[in-house]
């Protein structure tokens, strides 16, 4: 009987607070459903056996782990937000004579109820939609919908376990909050008025510095390999800077504005907004920082995965300037031997090679030691910037680039991806080889795709090509490449590509290495398809969290503004004026994080372009288009959420009555 009482009280609380609890339940269910679906899809992919399922399952598994962590954090965070709002209510219980252990029972019942409800709803929704989601993923991976999708018991188990633990943690947190609660203080909370926040100048300055450092780091990256190394640090700096500026920076700025009397007292809007914003920022800074970071994540994730997916074919072409690349060690008569092999193999598979491109090259990594010197010695690898060096004989270069250049002894043409060597007179390699740098040329087509690291291509006179190899410290062999397009039936071409390597080895050619666009195409589809699939999942997850935070912020703003609103009317502001001033503040609070997120994305754009180059994505305009489209779509969603939640806000503030 008594137990039922607490349960009934908990139920009543949930029903009464549906403005706050319904969104919470909805988001918890969505998050649980999302996690279940992701887990189920991963499990199905793991057990399924299709070409390329291994890497896909690996990517999905990583994604599932990260999604699980995020889900737990979001649920935990939202709950603490909810509990903060209920301080007064719990204080009242206490005044009305409930002991803390009684309140604890109510809270226990509430958490158990919400946990059970959202688990149930989430799992049901996940099971219903799971098959559909799986089909969507197969479509993104461009696989036929032939795979069986069942309800994996392990997914059910993992999801239930994860979120039960999650809700237990939530429960413990609530009880801990209750323990520390001081009922009288809680009851008075609203009336006492909050202390004005201090301006923390040092933290504000630190925010400017960290954000600036992050931005500069992002803007000064030169090469994709550098971008990958720097990206993480830049992200950490920007996140730290964002939080510092939202918390300390905003208040410092507002206080500066308030000190400027001409500005502050000059217009009623400035006067009311500046002082109002100081309090708003104090209460909301962290939440707004969260919205900003989450929004940035959404924008970056979606823009890059979508553009990678859309640009798949183009990236393939960047990575493969010819359908098939046949590389092997150079040697006597290698060109005729390879040509004969390819012709014979092509005839066997009813395909025809065309646009053949062949060249000898010497490729090795080298370290830039001093101003004009490189070293290819292994022991120097840690001591400077790494360059990929490609040496070509002049005749091969002239043939492939359709040029008729000539070089005198000891001279070289050069091309590079990022560094400008124009000011160098000579270039010294391993202290032995000294060459004079002549004209800068465009890198030949077969090197165009290799721009992940900084590279330099040297074209040397034919008779100095072999001596260059001999003077080199690094033990690299000259390789011979025979690259071509294929004509014929799609399936024949794929089989040709897959078997050419074995045929080459059989023919006794050394160091055979074949790259085929046909087998890579599948890998690309798998990789970018699964990345996009994960991207969409994360975007939904982040969007749920963002929407939820916006909603709860609106509610808490509403309660705070109600009193202020009435007073301002009494001291001689018209309802319209008050509405526009307060509406302006609320708008600022909500669109500040979005603007900051867009700024972050804009600054990150160049470095993201570089990172995407690692995935052979070089179409900057496509990425720009995707980014703009994603920003637009997200802004529309944001506006929609804002408008929808603003209704709750206005009903709390009650603009109708004075």
């Amino acid at each position: 009987m008594r137990k039922l009482f607490y349960l009934r009280l908990a139920l009543t609380n949930l029903r009464k607070g549906r403005n706050t609890y319904f969104p919470y339940l909805l988001s918890c269910s969505t998050i649980i459903g999302l996690f279940y679906m992701l887990h189920a899809v991963t499990m199905t992919t793991l057990t399924a056996d299709f070409a390329g399922s291994g890497p896909v399952a690996y990517i999905l598994l990583m994604g599932t782990v990260i999604a699980g962590m995020f889900s737990a954090v979001i649920i935990f965070y939202t709950n603490s937000f909810l509990m903060k709002q209920r301080g007064k209510e719990l204080g009242l219980y206490s005044i009305l004579g409930m002991e803390k252990r009684h309140i604890a029972r109510v809270l226990l019942c509430e958490t158990a109820l919400t946990g059970a409800l959202s688990l149930l709803a989430g799992m049901l929704g996940g099971m219903l939609l799971g098959r559909l989601v799986f089909l969507v993923m197969l479509d993104l991976l461009r696989l036929p919908a032939m795979l069986e999708f069942s309800v994996p018991l392990s997914s059910v188990g993992t999801t239930v376990l994860l979120f039960t633990v999650n809700f237990l943690a939530v429960m413990l947190h609530n009880l801990w909050r209750l323990r520390r609660m001081n009922p009288i203080a809680l009851l008075r909370e609203g009336a006492a008025g909050e202390r004005e926040p201090r301006a923390r100048w040092i933290l504000a300055a630190l925010g400017v510095v960290t954000l600036g450092a992050g931005y500069i780091l992002a803007l000064t990256v030169r090469t994709p390999s550098e971008a990958i190394g720097v990206f993480f640090f830049a992200v950490v700096l920007v996140i730290a800077g964002t939080y510092l500026l939202f918390t300390a920076g905003s208040i410092a700025l507002l206080k500066l504005l308030r000190r400027n009397r001409r500005f502050y007292y000059g217009r009623p809007e400035n006067f009311i907004s500046v002082s109002g914003m100081i309090y708003r920022m104090k209460q909301n800074a962290v939440g707004l920082g969260n919205i900003c970071i989450l929004s940035t994540c959404v924008l970056v994730t979606l823009a890059s995965t979508v553009s990678l997916y859309v640009g798949e074919e183009e990236q393939l072409r960047t990575s493969f300037y010819r359908d098939i690349e046949f590389h092997c060690d150079a040697g006597e008569d290698i060109d005729s031997r390879v040509a004969a092999l390819v012709d014979e193999h092509a005839e066997m598979h009813h395909v025809a090679p065309k646009e053949v491109s062949q060249y000898c090259s010497l490729e090795f990594p080298a370290i830039r030691m001093r101003e004009t010197a490189f070293s290819s010695r292994k022991e120097d690898y840690e001591s400077g910037a790494v360059y990929q060096v490609v040496v070509l004989p002049l005749s091969d270069y002239n043939r492939e680039a359709e040029e008729e250049r000539s070089l005198s002894e000891g001279e070289a043409l050069w091309a590079s991806s990022y560094t400008d060597f124009s000011s160098w007179e000579t270039l010294t390699m391993d202290e032995e080889i000294v060459i004079r740098l002549s004209d800068r040329v465009d890198p030949p087509a077969f090197l165009a795709g290799a721009d992940v690291v900084d590279s330099i291509c040297l074209v040397v006179p034919d008779r100095e090509f072999i001596p260059f190899r001999e003077g080199l410290a690094s033990e690299r062999d000259i390789s011979y490449s025979f690259d071509f397009h294929l004509e014929g039936d799609e399936e024949d071409k794929a089989v040709f590509g897959d078997t050419l390597g074995a045929a080459g080895k059989e023919a006794g050619i050394e160091g055979v290495w074949v790259r085929s666009i046909f087998s890579s195409r599948q890998d690309f589809y798998m990789l970018y398809g699964s990345l996009l699939f994960l991207g969409i999942f994360f975007v939904i997850l982040f969007a749920v969290a963002t929407v939820l935070i916006i909603y709860y912020k609106q509610i808490s703003e509403g309660y705070g503004d109600r009193g202020r609103f009435v007073i301002m009317q009494k001291v001689g502001m018209s309802r319209k004026e008050v509405r526009s001033v307060i509406g302006g503040q609320v708008l600022t609070v909500f669109f500040l994080p979005l603007s900051a997120a867009v700024l972050h994305v804009a600054v990150a754009f160049p470095v993201l372009c570089k990172v995407l180059r690692v995935f052979s994505m070089r179409n900057t305009s496509l990425f720009l288009l995707c980014t703009l489209a994603v920003i637009l779509a997200f802004t529309v969603l944001y506006l929609f959420v804002y408008r929808a939640t603003a209704k709750t806000y206005y009903s709390i503030v009650q603009f109708e009555r004075t």
Binding site: A192, G193, E194, R195, E196, R261, R262, Y265, G266, R267, P268, F271, S275, G276, I278, Y279, R564, V566, I567, M568, Q569, K570, V571, G572, M573, S574, R575, E577, T658
Partner: protein
């Protein structure tokens, strides 16, 4: 010509449910001369608050008119009401109604900022006022840092700073302790002596005894009025108390 004239004011409310008609004011007529300090007394439900709301232009009468300095308040358009209120009326409320986001200084300056007053002039008006109300050392403090009496003094300063024709005070001592109450009433008397017209709604005989005249309202009508004349505060208080006793006993209605 009187500063304020209330002429045959009538207010009828229709309750939201059931369309029940409630007559809050039946027929209220009175005048207030410039520089007068008038208290309005009455029981809860007597129509005091309705009357004050109408005088404050927060509400409109069903019938009758209010003239402030010869201007008909009922004829002021909805759009100009806020400006009118700001420029002609000063308010002092029971619960102070100070904004917690502003320092006392900014709370006092609020009406001037709303009227786009240049800030040099704001300060020129603020400093003598703050000195008179002994608020000078408190100006940079926030409402939650000062006592109730200090808050109410700031509210009075806010009402005075625009140089209003009329100060409307709604139970200004309701939330104050006895010492702060006495101080505030002395302050009102002083302001009144300087020629400021004040209309104060109260149900405390002690508070009303500081006024120059007391109007008693019952059942939506002016039931009686008392002039202080040359009476001492204590005598006037006694007289008000006696009148209240009669008022409450229901005789003579």
């Amino acid at each position: 010509m009187p500063m304020l004239t209330a002429n045959k004011l009538k207010k009828v409310y229709t309750t939201r449910f059931g369309g029940h008609m409630v007559q809050a004011l039946t027929d209220v007529t009175f005048t207030v001369e410039e520089g007068e300090f008038v208290a309005i007394m009455g029981e809860s439900g007597s129509g005091k608050t309705t009357l004050l709301n109408i005088l404050a232009t927060l509400d409109r009468p069903t019938e009758g008119q209010v003239l402030l300095d010869g201007m008909d308040l009922t004829a002021v358009g909805e759009g100009e009401l806020a400006v009118f209120r700001r420029e002609n009326l000063g308010f002092v409320f029971q619960d102070f109604n100070l904004l917690d986001t502003f320092s006392l200084e900014d709370n006092i300056l609020l009406p001037l900022v709303l009227s786009h007053c240049p800030y040099e002039e704001m300060y020129a008006r603020l400093s003598p006022l703050a000195r008179d109300l002994s608020l000078t050392p408190l100006l940079k403090k926030f409402p939650y840092e000062v006592s109730g009496g200090q808050k109410q003094r700031a509210a009075v300063a806010r009402a005075l700073i625009t140089g209003p024709k009329l100060i409307l005070a709604d139970e200004p001592t309701g939330a104050l302790d006895s010492r702060a109450t006495a101080q505030l009433l002395m302050l009102f008397e002083e302001i009144g002596a300087r020629g400021q017209t004040i209309l104060m709604v109260t149900h405390s005989a002690r508070a009303a005894s500081h006024a120059g005249r007391v109007l008693f309202i019952r059942d939506g009508c002016v039931f009686h009025q008392l002039y202080r004349g040359r009476m001492s505060g204590e005598d006037f208080y006694q007289k008000i108390a006696d009148t209240l006793a009669v008022l409450c006993s229901g005789e003579g209605a």
